[in-house]
Amino acid sequence: MKKGSEMQTKTTLSDQEIIELYWQRQEKAISATDDKYGKYLYTIAYNILYNRMDCEECLNDTYLSTWNSIPPQRPSVFQVFLSRIMRNNAVDAYRKKAASKRIPSEMVSSLDELDECTPHAPSPDEEYRIKELSDALNAYVQALSDREQFIFVCRYYYSDSIAMIAKMLQISERTVTRELKEIRDNLKAYFEKEGYQI
């Protein structure tokens, strides 16, 4: 190697390079993924599970799922692809654990927040209504500003803590709390306008 490259202590591969490694069935694909995204994936699981060991298990499951899905898949946005798998794994693990006891995780408190603004769960013979509700929610989220949308996804999809969202956006926790409250109030009004009972 020439002199310029000696300055680099560790090479962070691009997503495309990592995906290429998966396609070539090289095991260093996993370590490259872990180097690049391990920490961020971990936060997703931690918000849901609040347990270090469970999170690491989830992380390993996620790498395994990734290894098993690439190939044939070639995710266009690798980080989103990983995040989704991680979130699903974490929620599965949560379901197993939460069957026996309540886990005081960030996910529980974030979901609880939504009590005030989401309709009741439809009964089993009204399952078709879930699709309706989902369409309505998507329409509402699409209409949010970028920042509101980001806060909403972080808080309710990734169950990020308010402090974490404040840090990411470099704003105060009070601001995040206030904006979340606004989003929820508007959501409630929106649902009610659409004819749902809260």
Partner: protein, 1114 residues
């Protein structure tokens, strides 16, 4: 997860992909940035309150005097900058490194050596120049060192950031932004980049952008424009102070090269043409330059700058004749390899200026040199003035100026030949350094070593092409001592010791005439004579008896050097026999003793160690003789006499009986017999203990002498015993029952009575104090027998004895044999009788011939029916009641006055008495449909009910089918509303039974004959197809299941298929089970069909009772 959470979770999971994608990317970017962002908080904390107040003032001040952001420049890095505010350092350190490209030029081959070596002023001199190190400086490239020193100051060119093709680089835009305005976007090479596209690590003063460099090699330029920021609500342009353009080099193999041609070398000058090829214009784009330089090994004599775009003609003059120089073409530029701007040698060559005269045709041998002179044609006075030979710095010979050979030289030696000539008035010299060839060092050595047990052989091989050596000595050594100084042509030595290591040594002297004098070589070879093999001896036992043994003794001796010298026989450590070495057996020995055969043998291995003496032992155990044994047995024993016999087991016939002694209980000998006398002792006391002792002796021939032993037989003489009386307590028994006998027994001696044998049957005695009781099971199975006592068993002094008595008790015992009931019937031969008919019961026995059967017991013997004898095996009784079964539980029978009652099992009798013999005859369907409910009827022909509607009614009378059939009956429910009378011999043929129930709310029973059928049925059959259709089953949930009972009355056999169809089941009961029972006598199958309800909702169970032949559910 709670249902509430699950629902919300699912709802959130249904968020659209683009929303999740966009925000996930943003989230990861922000999280990455968060990790890299320096945490400024602690700084503020340490500043303390004073600083906080100060900051407040500064903040207020800044509020009113905000500074416009200023663009200060761009930097490029391969990785995202760790701290965006830190400028990437220059690529590498500032030292300009000289990178050699000299490997592009092939090195000139070194001068080929012809036996010897030479160098200096000879005609092949130009070719001899070592292009890699022409000035013999040893290390490095002298001209390149020099160029680096001279040209590093030329500089002035820019170092360019470089990257590999298709690599991603990071361009950091630096902005002075003290008031932290939000930067919105900028334009780079015409493409607009917004803030969300900035890489993690970007902040308000450093905007990091990831750029894919593409695959075009060479230098690319990036120009920034229109950096926008937000001031309050207005979007404004950043002030552009810095250099707007940044260059990025893409590394490439297409480096500049030069072509050097038209080279002309003169006595005092050189000229050549240079053309530069630089496809990517690296030299000009990096502001570099191209030079031609000339070097004399010490300094750069000349530097000529060349143009890049055309052929340059270079001429350098003023050089010395016959002198070594080097020229090089050097470019200074950025090669885009990450090392920045450097000088590179693109071409270089060393050369010699032309000479007036040179040595030519040089040829060197080991002791001579020949040569010629090659004069430049333009030079006029082609003659030498002096020719000398030097060894080192010392002149060793003056040679004739016309000489072309030098002889008598030492081999392998450096010489110098110096020739002088006149160039005008100047005397010039040329020199030739040469090295004479080396003479070949001779080689000598041993080959082909050979050996026997007493000799060795070898060959000597010599390789001496220059004949400089001679063999001077040949010696034989054993250890370090010389045992023979042999002639030089000796090639073998004989009469040697075996298994010894000998050394052959030669001395060889040679002289190479190279000034180092004579050399002596000593070579040796070590050869070991073969060893002789020590003989091995084996000795094995071949046979052994009680008094001797034989053996094999053999020696394996391939070199015939051994022999046996002694053969001895030892008992323990004592030699008992010294035999001839030929002996192979010993006899007359003791039995059961261990002997040792010891053979001694000697041999000489001829190895200088003398004669070896060895022994070998064989241990032999002679077979032992067997001690005889004697056993005694009594042949006759009474109260006073003892006769006995003996047997002796003596396989080796070494024993003899000495005498027989009789000892009393104290051990005193009271009589003796010799073996020749009658073996009997007389006049003994009754019930007393005696011992017979046989004394015998034998000799085992084992050295232990004669043994005397005893064998003993303990006897107890018989006691006096007798029976005083016997009473038989049991007089009547069934076969295999026991008889009890009471006995009074007497003995004057101290005996214990243990058993008795009565009528051939042995049994134990139970001591009851004054008398004994014995129980025995006689073998007699029937009839009378007299009780006789055969013998008594008792013990006296521990001996068990039997005394034959033959005592007749005068009493008899009666044995009642087996009696079985074979059948119970009615005297009319039927199993029923009419009301007016007079009948008796008839009971037939098996085994009743010997007895008079008196009565039978009915119902647990509550009543006894007297029997009237019909014949030996048949007895009559008056049946008392009917229509119910008679269990006959016992029978009483007698012989003479003795009678016994035998319990019976499984004997039952039942008959029916019904109706009047005077029945109304039925021959039409109408008659059948209108029978008197209590009347008595008989069919006189088959009744065909086809097409006739049947109306159920109650019938409690008597109907005799009389072998005829009721055919084609169609029923929509049971045939009768009640059927509590008697149906006999009724056959219903081809009955069609169809029941429909709209709403079934409880367990239901279906019967062909009657829902209430408590009558008596004899020999009745229905061949019917039953169809049961239930529209809705609607059972209360309190029912655990749903049951349908399809029944036939006892003795009313149904043949046919039952179809059950259920349309729907509502309000399922607890278990969701439908049970369909066929109860009664069925020959047929059941099919069950349920419609409109999924089968899997219910478990179908067939519940079968009594007989059901056929298929199960389908």
């Amino acid at each position: 997860m709670s249902k509430k959470h699950e629902f919300k979770f699912d709802l959130l999971s249904s968020l659209q992909d683009d929303v999740i994608d966009k925000n996930t990317r943003k989230r990861i970017k922000l999280l990455m940035a968060l990790e890299k962002r320096p945490n400024r908080k602690p700084l503020w904390i340490t500043l303390g309150s004073v600083a906080a107040v100060l900051a407040l003032f500064i903040g207020l001040f800044a509020l009113f005097t905000k500074q416009v952001p200023i663009y200060t420049g761009m930097t490029v890095s391969r990785t995202a900058p760790v701290s965006a505010s830190a400028l990437p350092s220059a690529d590498g350190d500032d030292t300009v490194q000289f990178l050699t490209l000299s490997q592009r030029f092939a090195h000139a081959p070194s001068n080929p050596h012809h036996g010897g070596d030479f160098s200096g002023d000879h005609s092949g001199k130009q070719d001899d120049i070592d292009q890699s190190d022409p000035f013999k400086k040893g290390e490095g490239d002298a001209i390149e060192e020099e160029i680096r020193d001279s040209l590093s100051v030329v500089g002035g060119a820019k170092s360019i950031y470089y990257a590999n093709p298709n690599e991603t680089v990071y361009i950091t835009v630096h902005i002075e932004n003290p008031d932290d305005f939000e930067i919105l976007s900028f334009t780079l090479n015409g493409v607009k980049y917004a803030s969300y596209m900035f890489e993690p690590g970007s902040d308000l003063e450093n905007l990091i952008l990831k750029v894919d460099i593409g695959e075009v090699e060479g230098i690319q330029q990036y120009t920034i424009d229109a950096i926008k920021y937000v001031d309050g609500t207005a979007i404004k342009d950043v002030r552009m102070d810095g250099d707007r353009t940044v260059c990025i080099g893409v590394s490439t193999d297409k480096q500049p090269t030069v072509t050097v041609e038209d080279e002309v070398i003169g006595f005092n000058d050189i000229s050549f043409s240079v053309t530069c090829q630089d496809p990517l214009n690296l030299i000009s784009l990096s502001s570099g330059k191209l030079f031609a330089v000339l070097y004399d090994g010490e300094t750069l004599l000349k530097t000529v700058e060349l143009t890049l775009d055309k052929k340059n003609k270079v001429t350098i003059e003023g050089l010395a004749t016959n002198s070594l120089y080097q020229y090089a073409i050097v470019a200074s530029y950025d090669a885009l390899d990450g090392t920045g701007h450097n000088p590179y040698t693109l071409a270089q060559k060393a050369f010699c200026t032309k000479a007036i005269v040179l040595f030519d045709g040089v040829s060197i041998a080991s002791e001579s040199l020949s040569f010629a002179l090659h004069w430049d044609a333009e030079f006029k006075k082609q003659s030498l003035t002096d020719l000398s030979l030097y060894l080192g710095n010392e002149k060793v010979r003056d040679l004739d100026v016309d000489a072309t050979t030098v002889t008598d030289l030492q081999s392998d030696t450096d010489y110098t030949l110096v020739a002088s000539y006149k160039n005008g008035v100047k005397t010039e010299t040329i020199t030739l350094q040469f090295h004479t060839a080396k003479k070949v060092t001779p080689e000598i050595g041993f080959t082909s070593p050979a050996k026997t047990q007493t000799s060795i052989g070898f060959e000597i091989v010599e390789n001496d092409p220059d004949a400089v050596g001679v063999l001077t000595k040949l010696e034989l050594l054993l250890g370090s001592a010389v045992v023979q100084d042999a002639s030089l042509d000796t090639r073998s030595f004989d009469g040697l010791l075996s298994d010894n290591l000998y050394t052959v040594r030669l001395t060889y002297i040679y002289d190479l005439n190279d000034g180092t004098g004579a050399h002596t070589v000593v070579k040796t070879v070590q050869i070991k004579t073969e060893a002789k093999t020590a003989p091995t001896v084996s000795i094995t036992q071949t046979n052994v008896t009680q008094t001797g043994f034989s053996f094999d003794l053999s020696m394996t001796d391939p070199d015939a050097i051994g022999s046996f010298t002694k053969l001895e026989l030892l008992l323990g450590e004592v030699v008992v026999n010294e035999a001839s070495v030929e002996a192979r057996a010993f006899d007359g020995l003791l039995s059961d003793n261990v002997y040792t055969v010891r053979a001694t043998y000697v041999y000489d291995l001829n190895d200088g160690k003398g004669i070896h003496t060895k022994t070998i032992d064989l241990m032999v155990h002679t077979i032992a003789k067997t001690a005889p044994t004697v056993s005694l047995r009594e042949t006759d024993l009474s109260q006073t006499d003892l006769a006995f016999d003996y047997s002796m087991t003596d396989p080796d016939a070494i024993g003899s009986i000495l005498r027989f002694d009789l000892r009393d209980a104290t051990g005193a000998v009271i009589a003796s017999n010799l073996p020749t006398e009658e073996l009997r002792f007389t006049d003994l006391s009754a019930a007393s203990e005696y011992t017979v002792v046989a004394v015998y002796s034998y000799d085992l021939n084992d050295g232990e002498g004669i043994h005397e032993k005893e064998a003993t037989l303990r006897v107890v003489t018989d006691a006096q015993v007798s029976i005083q009386s016997a009473i038989v307590h049991t007089k009547q028994i069934f076969p295999n029952e026991s008889v009890t006998v009471q006995l009074a027994l007497y003995s004057p001696h101290n005996v214990t009575f243990t058993g008795v044998t009565i009528n051939g049957v042995s049994t134990s005695l139970k001591n009851m104090g004054n008398f004994y009781l014995a129980q025995f099971v006689p073998s007699v199975q029937s009839g009378v027998f007299a009780v006789e006592i055969d013998s008594l068993q008792y013990t006296v002094l521990g001996a068990e004895k039997t005394e034959g008595i033959a005592y007749e008790t005068g009493e008899t015992v009666m044995v009642f044999g087996e009696l079985e009931v074979e059948s119970v019937t009615l005297s009319n031969g039927r199993n029923y009788a009419y009301a007016e008919e007079s009948v008796t019961g008839l009971i037939t026995f098996r085994g009743s011939e010997a007895y008079t059967v008196k009565s039978i017991g009915i119902y647990l013997d509550e009543e006894r029916y007297p029997l009237t004898k019909v014949n030996d095996t048949q007895y009559a009784f008056e049946p008392l009641f009917h229509n119910s079964p008679y269990p006959i539980t016992s029978v009483t029978y007698a012989i003479g006055d003795s009678e016994k009652t035998l319990a019976l099992e499984d004997v039952s009798f039942q008959f029916y008495r019904y109706g009047s013999m005077y029945q109304t005859e039925i021959s039409t369907p109408q008659q059948l449909m209108s029978m008197d409910p209590n009347g008595s009827y008989i069919l006189t022909r088959d009744i065909d009910m086809a097409g006739i509607s049947w109306t159920p009614y109650a019938f409690n009378g008597f109907l005799d089918g009389n072998g005829y059939k009721i055919k084609n009956l169609v029923l929509t429910g049971s045939m009768f509303t009640k059927a509590n009378g008697i149906l006999a011999n009724v056959t219903l043929d081809n009955v069609s039974y169809g029941v429909y129930i709209a709403n079934l709310t409880e367990y239901h029973l279906f019967d062909l004959i009657s829902q209430e059928a408590y009558g008596t049925y004899i020999n009745c059959v229905a061949n019917a197809e039953m169809n049961i259709h239930i529209d809705t089953i609607n059972m209360p949930s309190s029912y655990s299941d749903i049951r349908l009972f399809i029944v036939s009355a006892s003795n009313f056999t149904y043949n046919g298929t039952v179809h059950v169809t259920i349309s729907q089941v509502k309000n399922s009961c607890n278990d969701d089970i439908i049970k369909i029972s066929l109860e009664g006598d069925y020959n047929g199958s059941l099919t069950a069909v349920k419609k409109q309800v999924s089968w899997s909702d219910y478990i179908w169970e067939e519940h079968l009772s009594t007989v059901m032949n056929g298929n199960g559910l389908s």
